[in-house]
Amino acid sequence: MKTFKGGVHPPEEKKLVKDNPIVSFPLSSRYYVLVQQHLGAPAKPIVSAGDEVRKGQVLSEPLGFVSVPVHAPTSGKVKEIGRMVHPVTGLLAPCIVIDADGKDEWADGLPLERDPFSMSREELLNAIKSAGIVGMGGATFPTHVKLSPPKDKPIDTFIVNGAECEPYLSSDHRLMLEQPERILKGTRVAMRILGLDRATVAVEANKPDAIRLLREKAPADIQIEALKVKYPQGAEKQLINALTKREVPSGGLPMDVGAVVQNAGTCAAVWDACAHGIPLIERITSVTGRGVVQPKNIRVRVGTLVGEVIEFCGGLNEAAKIIFGGPMMGIAQFTQEIPIMKGTSGVLVLREEDTNITLYSACISCGRCVEACPMGLIPSVLSKLGEKGMWEKAVENDLLDCVECGSCTYVCPANRPIVHFVKHLKALSRAASAKSKGA
């Protein structure tokens, strides 16, 4: 089976939710829609306190090409444009607070019925941008940008990422089992935009039921490929390498080797946006981990407080850590007063015994991290440079090629927080270039 070099095998732990069908999370009374739920230029709120809004109504205006709007997850009234803790940075960020009126009425004209296959490329990209579609695997990069690479980067490969390599998570798995048509049709739309006549859906071999079903449902021009189970198979560059043997150059992007990768959930959202004009206001999220009483896969609206979600799943059970995302790359949260975002593929609640809070010690140069690194870096050196704050030397040692997958941290016998050191060095490097630019 195809695979990439490096990587680790953390315990899957998916049995907690992988056989749980998706359950719809009921309507909340209040939604907190963060304005910045994407990578790229900020967006500007275009509603104010007191405005009546309807489900799917646009709430913000993107400022620039690499920017997307956010939409109202339900009908109601805007309470305020306040500030809320942002799950990614942990800092306060602008947030549109909406009090639901309980009627859950769509905005005028939505949902519509149209045929994406008779729409032009520009119309499709426009529909995707105005629907606020971003990468739902967690990176939240604006999809319309990814699907419109510059002319000097010809694309010949489109890959749908159904790998879901993070332990504990099963949201994409359930989506593939329960709504494969949305994914496949969305893939077709992407193929049309990119001008390709074939595509590949990559699924890790630990989801045989999904692979079987997709193979049944897929048309001839979409190939379903099973990949060896290894973390981080779902990382873009590793996916491209496993499927095509191509290597994205250092500092480069997938388009440099003629490839575009999209998450399976994003493809489904693309279909909804193009065929029905439905914006990205809800997603499938795995609420899992032994720290929550009843793990579930939920269909939840963006902006729902995670505290409510956890309560819906039976509440906490000796919880010590709440993570948005998976255990390898997810971001730990210090409060339950935090909203679900477009990129929240999982809410992972761990007990203390499920975590590792051992204090780190000196690097023993054992080399396990070097074996594990899927990007071929030397994490031990980066961690030592991180301890000393030597970011220039780190950049020379390919710091910027690190995808922060966490494989090195996972295998380190000295419990060194290597990814944290890398993030620290990257922050120092950014601060230094900002200083020299401003100076």
Binding site: V85, T89, F334, I357, E387, G389, P417, H424
Partner: protein, 324 residues
């Protein structure tokens, strides 16, 4: 005998000839003054001057007649020496000292979460803005101590950094390192500073930190030089250009958040010189002096704040500062 002298002499002569010729061909014009200047610089290469290191700054100040003295770490003696070497007077910038504007020890503050990660304040700040409840307070992981090239700031047992007055050169490396901009440079002539930079209103700050500035404004009211500004969402700030180091604000602050770089020596009245005129008792702002007219007066050391007013006003020059 002769042959040995001739031999060695001959080799020596030949070598001298070759070296003499090379000395001319490979001559390097190096200003000897530059070496002399470099010797006077501290050699820590801290970069506070804005140049790549002491050698680079020595080169600049020697070759460029307009260059100003930018090294904060030279003392008076070195400054004189450098001025002598270069043949022009160099004005030293007013020496500065670092002060740590947070007194929130772990016992008096709360944390939002338990932090597990690199022992570096900048790295800790990346995790949701740091684990300390007060987002203006010191994270206590010691990055300032690590970056100081002079060993002048050390993490104390109380979990806060402490500046060693004699070693601090005011180079500013710790200022850059602190992700919360808690450390500030003040002129060495100054003494008092407010140990808190919280912008939270008192009601919000109190549950997070028991010792922070509650912005009551008493210090600003009592300051005879109007050197203190404070508002409900900005901690008190002492303007060092106006502060006369009387120490009154310290004595009235209810949380004791105004800190001193060095404890001022207390006053002692010499009984032989004291004429018992009672002027000292009258001028003392904290009523620390007592006595009977025509008899030697006494200073209550416990109350004395070291403001020095009595020393200034005593007509008999009978009061002096005790240096601890």
């Amino acid at each position: 005998m002769i042959s040995s002298i001739l031999l060695l002499g001959g080799i020596g002569f030949l070598a001298a000839l070759i070296l003499g010729v090379s000395a001319v061909t490979f001559a390097v014009k190096m200003d000897p003054r530059e070496k002399a200047v470099l010797d006077q610089l501290p050699g820590a290469n801290c970069g506070a001057c804005g140049y790549a290191g002491c050698a680079a700054f020595a080169h600049e100040i020697t070759t460029n007649a307009e260059a100003e003295m930018a090294c904060p770490a030279v003392n008076e003696e070195a400054l004189q020496a450098i001025s002598g070497v270069l043949g022009r007077t160099l004005g030293g910038s007013a020496p500065l000292i670092a002060c740590v504007r947070c007194k929130g020890v772990p016992e008096q503050t709360v944390n939002r979460y338990e932090y597990v990660g690199p022992k570096d304040c900048r790295a800790a700040q990346l995790v949701a803005g740091g684990s300390k409840g007060c987002r203006y307070g010191c994270l206590g992981l010691g990055t300032c101590e690590t970056v100081c090239p002079f060993g002048a700031i050390m993490m104390g047992e109380d979990g806060l950094p402490h500046v060693i007055e004699s070693l601090c050169t005011g180079c500013g490396k710790c200022i850059d390192a602190c992700p919360r901009s808690i450390i500030q440079l003040i002129p060495r002539s100054g003494n008092y500073y407010v140990g808190c930079i919280s912008k939270d209103i008192a009601k919000d700050m109190k549950p997070l930190c028991k010792v922070g500035c509650i912005k009551c404004g008493i210090c600003a009211d009592i300051c005879p030089f109007e050197a203190i500004t404070v508002s409900k969402d900005a901690s008190a700030v002492i303007d060092q250009t106006k502060c006369n180091r009387c120490g009154l604000c310290v004595s009235v602050c209810p949380t004791g958040i105004i800190a001193a770089v060095r404890t001022p020596g207390k006053a002692r009245i010499s009984p032989e010189k004291c004429k018992g005129c009672s002027i000292c008792e009258q001028v003392c702002p904290v009523e620390a002096i007592s006595g009977k007219v025509k008899e030697p007066y006494l200073v209550n050391e416990g109350k004395c704040i070291g403001c020095g007013l009595c020393i200034e006003k005593c007509p008999a020059d009978a009061i002096e500062r005790i240096i601890s």
